[in-house]
Amino acid sequence: MKTITFTVNGQKYTREVEEHKTLLRFLREDISLTGTKEGCGAGECGACTVLLNSKPVNACLVLAVEIDGKEVITIEGIAQDGKLSPLQEAFERHHAIQCGFCTPGMIISAHSLLQRNPNPKREDIQEAIEGNFCRCTGYLQIIEAIEDAAEQLKPKKSKKR
């Protein structure tokens, strides 16, 4: 067991954790944040994507002890004060979701893209989402949602949402 201190979605925690426990299991079992899903447990599908110090990572490939002193954002931390982010709204508007199991990871990856690059081209979107599989949709509605969110976030509208 090792004691670690970290923040998740802005909240500070100190916890004891087994050295071999993955971040994915730690978030789900110890912090009770079940929005992050296990799709493959092998770093292939992206369903467990979270932000670690603003970088998207597969939580199934990161050990919980590695987040010591760091900041984690999960899907539960994307909506602010219960209000959906423009990206979440766009996913809903464009019907970019079917079963919903890949959605949290998909939104985290897209969120990270828009933070890095507020003006993504279609190729940038493909690059950013490449590690997030979806078995239900044909990805088109996901691309449309991300493009729309980028449009919404453009400074000219500068609405603080």
């Binding site: 992050t36 079917q98 079963c99």
Partner: protein, 747 residues
Amino acid sequence: MKNVDMKMHVKGQSVFIDDIKAPIGLLNAALFTSPVAKGRIKNIDISAAQKSEGVAMVITHKDIPGKNQIGHMIADQPLLAFDEIEYIGQPIAIVVADTRKNAKKACQLIKVDIEKLEPVFEPREAYQKGLIHAQKRVLVNGNIEEAFKKSKYIASGRIDSGGQEHFYFETQRALAIPKEADTIKVCASCQSPGAFQHHIAEVLDIPMHKVELEIRRLGGGFGGKESTAVWVVAAALAAKLLNRPVKLVISRNEDIATTGKRHPYSYDYKIGLDENGKILAFEVFLYQQAGGCADISPAVLGRSFLHTSGSYCIPNVKITAVSCKTNIPPNNAFRGFGVPQGTFIIESALFHASEIMGKNIIELKKINLLKDGDFLPYGMQLKKTNAVRCWETLDEKVNIKKRIEAVEEFNKNNQTKKRGISVIPVCFGISFAQSTLNQASALVNIYIDGSVSVSTGAVEMGQGVNTKILSVAANTLGIQKEKVRVDTTNTSRIPNASPTSASTGADLNGMATKFACEELLTRLKKLIAKKTNFFDLDKIRIKDGIVYLCGAKLDYTWEELILDAYNERTDLSCHSFYATPAIYYDRVKERGRPFAYYSYGTSLTEVEVDILRGVYEIVSIDVVHDVGKSLSPEIDKGQIEGAVIQSIGWTTIEQLRYAPDGKMLSSANSYKIPDIKFVPKNFNVMLLENSENPYAVCNSKAIGEPPFIHGLGAYFAILDVLRKIRKDKPLPSLPLTPEKVFMYIYE
């Protein structure tokens, strides 16, 4: 209307099985499965596993209180093997422990002594040895010998199509909670509430009324959670024996290694055309790779069997089909349920015939399309046929002739990159081919605050069925959608529900919901009539939650009406039932009307192949699909796009690999499903306009499976390129992976 769950999905708040708050005393289960493909169990030694850390119990066949049987169609599938072993991954024991990790650790300590026997992996070999599930099926229509004699062009050969892993994101899982008086509640990720409840009751030896099976939603299903009940029943059994809640969640690689897949098929075909290219005769033999137990394979085969004429009118046919028993995990339902394979063989045969005739395949298809009045091989006459309409709509949109010319032009100007094109027509029968299953019920409750709850037997797995049902309920009652909630699928509220499959979820359950709402509406109108002294019920309407008489708005809201109805002691709860009318099928004569109606579509797929390397890109897909009068265009479009991409996965890159001993080699790291880069730059989906369908709820048409057929276009467009390079070998098998494309060109 969009999927009602989306607000929760985007926040990560939707609850799937593994997200349910752990009940007190929860234990975790893992399965110990056979490492051998064919054999006989001599001894199972669980002593070391029993003593392992955290282990509560190791369950073998000896501990099962009821029947050790979960066969879906035939009683050939024990829950826990006790004698014969039929595939690697067959469950032998259930280990229950405090944590999943300890349960898995203990699995490694189980020693099983299996006498190895000779396995069979090839379907044709299995058939030769007499190893088949159920009976061989033969359908003859017309006079095949005469028709071949009259045929000017005849093509024949052998071809194969491969399997496909479902890769639903939520793997197989269940949570079972024992309750008082021997009852049990099971929350499961499954598509068949009625059938799985029945299996649980039989294995646990309790009556069905003591089993409550509840399903909120599935993280994808695609058919893979329809028939194989292993994981759900195993959790229930463990909970019952230990009198503790038990959860069973299998890992991705366990799921890939031990669950059923889309059936690979091998085919022998012979097709005859007249001098104009009209199909006169078609003879086909289907060998289905079924796996170690029958599971649902004979039903899948039946659907392939009924769809081997595709979208074409073929007057003389002989179709023979066998479900071959091979030593791999039992294959099961997967979106399309045999229709993709049935369609693949007629499309392949016709492609081959076009080469022999020297006529363009696309023209050949068009002249053979089904029309009103044509008969299908099993004697059903077609009405309201939209095959030609879909084709012509697509043609208007993309100009097929120009597209062919553009491809020819491209190929003239490019040496190492070649383009190919394919047009695929779709004709997909809707209804369960097993007539019994075409029934559904709904329970609609109106509460005194005016809120409405709808329960049906439909299972939500991302296809949006609950949203469609909600929309039917709100529209029928004349109230705002926010007032309606679709509750969980629960066997205590809806008994004997058919599986949510065959694309019929919205058709059947939507219609039952409509009937229940209509009955409630009549009760309410009678009350309004009494209160207003206006007795022409047809002129009483509720719209947006307000009562209208002869079109005039009353100062009377839905909420007030419901409260009055309650005070007047009106029954505000209604159960209703729907059974698809006028369908029947005679299995002896192989004649009947198995489907209520057909779904149609046409698509054009264009690919670009790098003929030096074998790699390719899907350049464009244009789809026209007939959804009738859509209950939700957004949902239907999403279903079409998803089905097309999933299908192109099957026809191109998804290839399953087995070791010589039958062990699955494919895993999460090596089995590739389409990612976002796979999506073509031009991907256009259009819903056929002005299509009506009197045979389903609110004139809509089923949508889940039919558009899967369009994905065949990728195979045939690549084939178009390959056959222009060389024709000195037989047609390559499906899928056409880049490796296979390369080897086809250069080997």
